[in-house]
């Protein structure tokens, strides 16, 4: 689960990590009203207006409706014109940004609608650094990564100058140790107050990552101010969905408008679903088999319309819901049910499919391949249902049949 920048900063602030002062705005008026208290509290006439979407690259992004406006805008009008000038400029920007579509390198061509803005104090930046905490799969531990190349695309840095990325592995039994945080702070070239503040920030961020079960937390840039403060100018966080059961407060931060509605509905039924661009709907058990089914459809000349793993513990009701989600997609010209039952029983799948067809009908060809636990019972249920189902002997056979029935290979 991803959250917005302003929510990530709120979580950091709660834990004593330094962040700029800011306010979230859902309307133009809220954006304008945010300015005065910010300027008064910070004593700085500069504010920043930032689009809040679940995608990076906002600074270089542009709005479809207003190509002259960037996703993030520094408002300096107040330096000469005072508070009124800042408020006017923020009003203009908020009008252009709210409700408009922001396209960045991470949103894809369609872009994302901006529904929230974050208005933040301007910061007198001395240096820009990079800091993140991610899982290192090779060691099975979190790793804290830091770099002097703040503000840059870190994957680009990892490619062109890997020596500029510093790493400290976190032993889960003791957490990131003081000396590790100090070592990173020294390597980042921090001295004096900035060193002390930096080491403290690094250690607190590592603890936050463990305590909140983050998948990823990335501060890019982490800035050093002229007065030696170390603070998060940006903040990206995502959380391990499997751990959300113990973080009720985080679940409340979920913004469903940022997620695909079919994927959200699928998740309510314990289904893992991803919408794709093709015409062959897939209903499969197991993530590996679901991916392999997509690959096989493509191999025989078709294009999958989705990834769908019904999981191991699905009930007839879940399977019915899965079938409905697939058939709702107008691009779907055929459906391939591919099941190799282990923990999932074939009769559960069969009952779910039959029930769904009774509820919503069947407008497109359906190919079913069943194998594994309770396979005989599953086949019997399908046979006796009277449904117009084509059965397949194996995965490739099923993929060929459904691609053929759905109008042939391209």
């Amino acid at each position: 689960m991803k959250i917005h920048e302003y929510q990530a900063k709120e979580l950091m602030k709660q834990r004593g990590l330094a962040v700029p002062i800011g306010r979230v705005a859902h309307t133009v008026d809220e954006a304008v009203e945010a300015v005065r208290p910010l300027v008064e509290a910070s004593g700085n006439p500069v504010v920043v207006v930032k689009s809040q979407i679940h995608a990076g690259g906002r600074g270089k992004g542009r709005f479809v409706e207003h190509p002259e406006v960037a996703g993030v805008n520094v408002v300096t009008a107040g330096i000469k014109g005072g508070l009124k000038a800042t408020e006017e400029r923020v009003r203009e920007l908020a009008k252009a940004m709210l409700g408009s579509t922001l396209v960045t390198i991470q949103t894809g061509g369609a872009g994302k609608q901006v529904n929230r803005l974050y208005i933040e104090q301007g910061i007198d930046i001395d240096r820009e650094l990079y800091l993140s905490v991610v899982l290192d799969r090779s060691t099975g531990r979190n790793v804290v990564m830091a770099s002097t190349e703040g503000g840059m695309d870190i994957e680009e840095v990892a490619h062109s100058a890997p020596e500029k990325i510093l790493r400290e592995s976190v032993d889960p039994s003791v957490g990131l140790l003081d000396f590790q945080a100090r070592r990173l702070a020294f390597a980042l070239g921090l001295t004096g107050d900035a060193h002390k503040n930096g080491a403290r920030f690094i250690r607190a961020l590592s603890a936050l990552a463990t305590d909140l079960d983050t998948d990823m937390v990335e501060i890019n840039p982490l800035v050093v101010t002229k007065s030696g403060q170390v603070m998060a100018l940006d903040g990206k966080m995502s959380f391990d969905n499997n751990a959300l059961f113990r973080h009720k407060d985080l679940i409340e931060m979920r913004d469903l408008t940022e997620e695909d509605s079919a994927e959200v509905e699928a998740s309510k039924f314990g289904l893992s679903f991803i919408k794709l661009e093709g015409t062959i709907g897939c209903l499969v058990n197991g993530a590996g088999l679901a991916m392999a089914t997509m690959d096989t459809i493509k191999q025989v000349g078709g294009e999958p319309a989705n990834f769908l793993d019904v999981g191991g513990g699905a009930t007839t009701e879940n399977v019915t819901a899965a079938f409905k989600i697939i058939t709702r997609d107008p691009n779907v010209k055929g459906i391939f049910v591919n099941i190799f039952g282990g923990i999932m029983k074939c009769d559960t799948i069969a009952n779910g499919v039959v029930e769904a067809v009774h509820q919503v009908g069947l407008q497109v060809p359906l190919v079913v391949r069943l194998e594994g636990t309770n396979v005989a019972l599953g086949k019997k249920i399908i046979d006796e249902s009277g449904l117009n189902v084509v059965s397949a002997s194996d995965m490739k056979d099923g993929a060929r049949k459904i691609v053929e029935l759905a109008g042939g290979a391209k």
Binding site: A243, G286, G288, L289, M291, A292, F307, G311, G341, G342
Partner: protein, 312 residues
């Protein structure tokens, strides 16, 4: 011969809920020696499993089975009473990490964790806890381990397996079944099939199992099934190139997966251009592995690899 499990395996079950009971019944029907269950607060109460044997499992068994599995409050008590050397976990995700560590502390040599959805942070702690202990964790989020006609631990359908010559190791449960069925249909059979699970932090990895198969005289070739995400397949490819004395075939799922989307498994995600199927296939082919174009071609890829090695 085989790896990890055989007729000497004495299994206990942790998490005898609905799914746990269903698959314990299937394991007993197969002939697995289930010696106890850990059910805190219910020690002394035996659970009866009975039914009709389909004779796809351990040979020479009667048509019916009836087994009373005794319950214990703790893993330690179960091990002391039964001398168990393996455990299988169906414990729900919030409690699974604790159950794994309890089994490790009690000295159970083989811990097979079926549970899907354990928080990654919990597995990070588990991995640390297991360091230096003489135990092996398989999983989590895996189908388990089976040596055909000897011992079935987990959720795989037993009837598709056939005692034979090929070792199977896989990150994906259902794709393991695909490979197994093809090997059975092709008359090659399996020595042991091991599901290592699709989570980013797990116990046993590809290389661990490849080492076991390399040393097992009965295993003549290996099918290794991977998927997008992480670099375990690339690491395995490097190991195979340097150490493997037996032919290896492979399939990598997710050639068509879009980047940035988690494909069901917590570990199956292409991020930052890393972990793509293309890179993995290239690494494996570079190590002499025959990679199947579709999952329906796994047994023919195995035969091709054996032909190249001059043993088929």
């Amino acid at each position: 011969m085989s790896v990890l499990v055989d007729l000497n395996t004495r299994l206990i079950v942790q998490g005898l809920g609905e799914a746990g009971a269903f698959h314990t019944d299937k394991a007993i029907a197969y002939g697995t020696n289930v010696v106890g269950a850990v059910r805190p607060g219910k020690s002394g109460q035996a659970v009866r499993f009975e039914g009709v044997t389909d004779h796809s499992g351990v040979p020479g068994r009667s048509d019916n089975y009836q087994v009373d599995v005794p319950s214990y409050d703790t893993v330690r008590a179960a091990v002391e009473a039964t001398n168990a050397n393996a455990t299988v976990l169906f414990v729900p995700p919030p409690f699974a990490a604790d159950a794994i560590m309890e089994a490790a502390e009690a000295g159970v040599k083989l811990i097979v964790t079926i549970t899907e959805g354990i928080p990654i942070g919990d597995m990070v702690k588990v991995k640390r806890y297991l360091t230096g202990k003489d135990v092996r964790l398989v999983g989590p989020n895996c189908p388990g381990v089976i040596t055909p006609h000897q011992c079935k631990i987990g959720i795989m359908p037993g009837y598709i397996h056939q005692r034979g010559r090929i070792g199977v190791v896989s990150r994906s449960g259902t794709l393991t079944y695909e490979a197994v069925k093809q090997l059975t249909d092709a008359g090659l059979g399996q020595t042991t099939a091991v599901g290592i699970g699709g989570d980013p932090v797990n116990g046993t990895n590809f290389i661990d199992v490849l080492e076991l198969f390399n040393a097992d005289p009965a295993t003549e070739g290996v099918i290794m099934i991977g998927e997008i995400g992480g670099s375990a397949e690339e690491e395995a490819a490097a190991w195979i190139g340097a150490n493997m004395r037996k032919p290896v075939a492979s399939f990598i799922a997710g050639t068509t997966a879009p980047p940035g989307k988690r494909m069901g498994h917590a570990g199956a995600i292409i991020s930052g251009g890393q972990g793509t199927a293309g890179e993995k296939i290239k690494a494996l082919e570079g190590a002499g592995v025959v990679v199947a174009a579709t999952p329906s071609d796994m047994s023919s890829a195995m035969l091709e690899a054996m032909r190249r090695a001059g043993i088929a």
